[in-house]
Subunit: 537 residues, 2 copies
């Protein structure tokens, strides 16, 4: 445990002051508070800036208030590093909070950590533990996204650092004219990072896990897609290219996913890695034997604490490069491909981006979230997440708030995945790339130009000063994510209708309004019913 004494944790770039949260601080009681803060789960750039904002807010309201940080996050909270879930872990956390007389506990993390924060809040409340729990959306994966949360601290940095490196590789590819680069990106199950990086760098191809899952593409379908692209480019005398692969792809490919599930099932039943291959079903065994030895070894790794595969250790980009090479050689031999020999170079951009200094956007976002989490605690809210919306606009237009984490939970009725134990229970689920969203639409519109025309774009290195320092993620800016703003707009429409249709208005107006509103409510009622409006995937 350490006392957060205001030393520099990362960089702060003129983050807005204490009143930027939009909450009238004069209404808050300025009593002395004891607050704890925990980093839960994996690293993400900008986490320290949340602490900075939180510290500044606490001290601004009472210099005698204290902020305590739990070193390593998990030492105190049990043996697991990614979760606060078992009764044992939850009780350990509660004991610590009570012993330290914490008024509040701020948990920084992604989907799992915030869900755990909600459960912790519930348990504390039931047990009359006075510590209020607040979550902060900090995860480079960018998958803690819903009507209240537009993006996560760290996502902007990761995408900028990776896009720069991808663009550098694009320049190299174009200059050398002889290699295809297969680049795997961090980001867990969802492909948000890969999508954003594809838009920023305008690399030739990106294989989104969500597309693969929606179209149920096998590894051979994907191989064929890439081979056709390579062949198409060869016809234009281009023998280079850059292809982005999200690390989660391996779980999106149906047959690989099924194989991983079987392997994890055997792990759960105590089988050792050496013995698993012989215990696989005939189908899974055939697939397993087909795969190259390096990937077999990686698939046999023990699953993560949340039962998912060790995505960072599975070199899916190498598997694809190898399959594409084999197929291109086959086509060359058969004479269906007449170009030069296909050459691939593989990269994994993971750890070198995760430890980056945070981008200016992430610094500001994190710093303000730190303030917001203080005000959320001070308002006595428990089990809430600190939120900021309208992020695509300048900082003085940001809207601060807090939303109950339970309001972000949904119930999944179908799942055969590692999260199957949550089926039927309300949970915060990682948001996948919305294939009907504007960001994906933008990618689709440009996909053939990206593929064929080498319109590579280099966003350059992260800038802290000068032009470019205020750049924001493309996927953040193209989406209309201002949910609360839109609700406000809707209310304005309703008010307007009310003000038009009042005693004294003409019979025609009343008739038209009645008919229109009857139809609108009909449609909305149907859409809002439990079975309506939602597609079964």
């Amino acid at each position: 445990m350490f006392d957060v004494d205001g030393r520099c944790y990362g960089r702060r770039f003129g983050g807005p002051g204490g009143n930027a949260t939009g909450i009238n601080t004069a209404l808050l009681k300025e009593r002395k508070r004891q607050v704890g803060v925990v980093f839960s789960g994996r690293q993400s750039p900008g986490g320290h800036n949340v602490i900075w904002g939180l510290y500044d807010a606490i001290k601004a309201h009472n210099p005698n208030s204290t902020l305590l940080g739990f070193v390593g996050g998990y030492d105190l909270l049990g043996r697991t590093k990614d979760q606060i879930r078992t009764t044992e872990q939850v009780n350990a956390a509660m004991t610590a909070c009570q012993a330290l007389k914490l008024d509040g506990l701020v948990i920084l993390g992604g989907v799992t950590s915030n869900m755990d924060a909600a459960h912790l809040a519930e348990t504390f409340s039931e047990s009359k533990c006075p510590t209020k729990v607040v979550g902060v959306p900090v995860t480079l994966n960018g998958d803690l996204k819903n009507q209240f949360v537009e993006t996560n601290v760290g996502f902007d940095t990761i995408c900028k650092v990776n896009s720069q490196l991808i663009s550098n590789v694009c320049t190299d590819a174009l200059s050398a004219e002889k290699y295809y680069y297969f680049i795997r990106l961090m980001g867990r199950k969802a492909s948000h990072v890969a999508l954003e990086c594809a838009l920023q760098s305008q690399s030739n191809m990106v294989i989104l896990g969500e597309e693969v899952a929606a179209s149920k593409l096998t590894i051979f379908d994907i191989t064929k897609q890439i081979c056709d692209a390579v062949q198409g480019r060869a016809e234009k005398d281009k023998y280079h290219g850059v292809i982005l692969i999200p690390e989660g792809l391996v779980e999106s490919v149906p047959e690989l996913y099924a194989l991983i599930q079987e392997i994890h099932g055997l792990h759960l039943h105590g089988a050792s890695a050496e013995n698993i291959p012989s215990q696989l079903s005939p189908w899974a065994s055939a697939l397993f034997e087909f795969l190259p030895p390096f990937i077999r070894k990686q698939l046999l790794l023990h699953p993560e604490s949340d039962d998912s595969a060790q995505l960072s250790q599975i070199e899916i980009e190498k598997l694809l490069a190898q399959l594409v090479e084999t197929e291109m050689n086959k086509r060359l031999k058969e004479g269906t491909y007449k170009g030069k020999k296909f050459n691939a170079i593989c990269h994994f951009f993971g750890y070198q981006a995760r430890g980056s200094l945070p981008s200016k956007f992430d610094c500001d976002y994190a710093y303000v979230l730190g303030h917001v989490s203080y005000h959320t605690l001070a308002a006595g809210l428990n089990g809430y997440m600190a939120t900021i919306t309208n992020l695509k606009n300048p900082v003085n237009k940001w809207r601060c708030g807090a939303a109950p984490i339970t309001a972000m939970m949904t119930v999944k009725r179908w799942s055969h995945g590692p999260a199957a134990f949550l089926v039927g229970k309300p949970a915060v689920h990682p948001a996948t790339v919305d294939l009907r969203g504007k960001a994906y639409e933008l990618l689709r519109q440009n996909a053939s130009s990206f593929l064929m025309d080498d319109v590579y774009s280099n966003p350059g290195p992260l800038q802290f000063d000068g032009p470019g320092a205020n750049a924001k993620a493309i996927t953040l800016c193209v989406e209309d994510q201002d949910y609360m703003g839109q609700i406000k707009l809707l209310q304005e429409y309703l008010d307007k209708v009310k003000s038009i249709v009042k005693p004294g208005c003409s019979q025609d107006v009343l008739k038209a309004a009645l008919s229109a509103m009857a139809s609108v409510t009909d449609v909305l009622s149907m859409m809002a019913s439990p079975s309506g409006g939602q597609l079964p995937f």
Copy 2:
């Protein structure tokens, strides 16, 4: 071929104007000139800025002058991509220069390219071809270093981009506390990039090829060194670390080098990769069989055009990580090591840095070199390299000049390496890290602190604006490299002695001066003799 019409090739950051070369432009004839420019060999950030400077200089002196660029560099000059060496290639180049009526040909590249430029100049001169040839030191390896050349265009960028990524990995290592990262860096045979990155990032360890070669360390010695470091850190309860490996290390390890030489010899005699293992000598065969399959495959790759190994394809970092893991597991089993299990993650930082936007330093350096190369041509010099010294000082203190490339050539009398065909012939040799130099001394002074104390330093991303934008390479700044400045200083001393010791001075003064100068000339004569002063390695 393209007409260089002043479009933006990379970024220019207020590079000094046309008169920055220090040459009095009024003295130059302003006649119309036709100049060609070639990128020779591998990519390096900043090359386009040389073109920019060259173009600006040419147009400033006569708007009707033309700059022609040879697309791809090698298309015109023969089938090889890295060299202009065979009679066929040289003649093709001469024919092209004559057909295009080129007054000058500017060749951008590293050691090989500049040596080829010198040979080209000689042939042109002998054949009365009027084209003057000028070389420009552009290579990310930083190994074209001598009394005239302090650093190369691209080196600063590569080191900054890599140091940032290494530092990010250091942050990650310190945060996760469970991995050792083995990072291989580009830079060919010499370890300049690795040394600079080690100083910038203050990573735990760096294995310099020059140290390994000087101490004749085997791969097992290196493994033991790393294992001892891991064990030492474990005793302080540290289970993470970052170790830098230059890609050239594989050629510095005596037994691996000998093995590679044998393999290349068999390649030269037409053996196919499949047949080579069975034709190795018993000793080489034993070593080969000991190595893991992935590295065997990589060692069998066909050598580069200059007969050296395909360093970018040989995963020496993985070999070391694997050997260290095996040794640590052995020590654990034997009880000589009592810490936690050793875990390694490997990275290769190559292509993602090489295509980066150039740093501000490289932009300026390249832009001014472009100007200098114009003035060198305009002065009628042939076979010269454009140079700038005093680079560690602000731009207005830089000293521009040109030096005959032949003056940079030395004769190696011993070599059993890939450059053996050059033994006895004058050649420009890649400069290795000077183990008696100040930069290496700085590393040695800090090595134990870097190793044990995790004093990681993150230079942050390349900045184009604001504080940090003017940062320069540490190895550039610690060395006293102002050769021409020092010669000038010496001349001042000589003049001073002359002005003191003249008719009218006392007998004592004359006697003392005579005695001192006799002794100085004695020592210098001995040192300057062919066999003196130089150590046989």
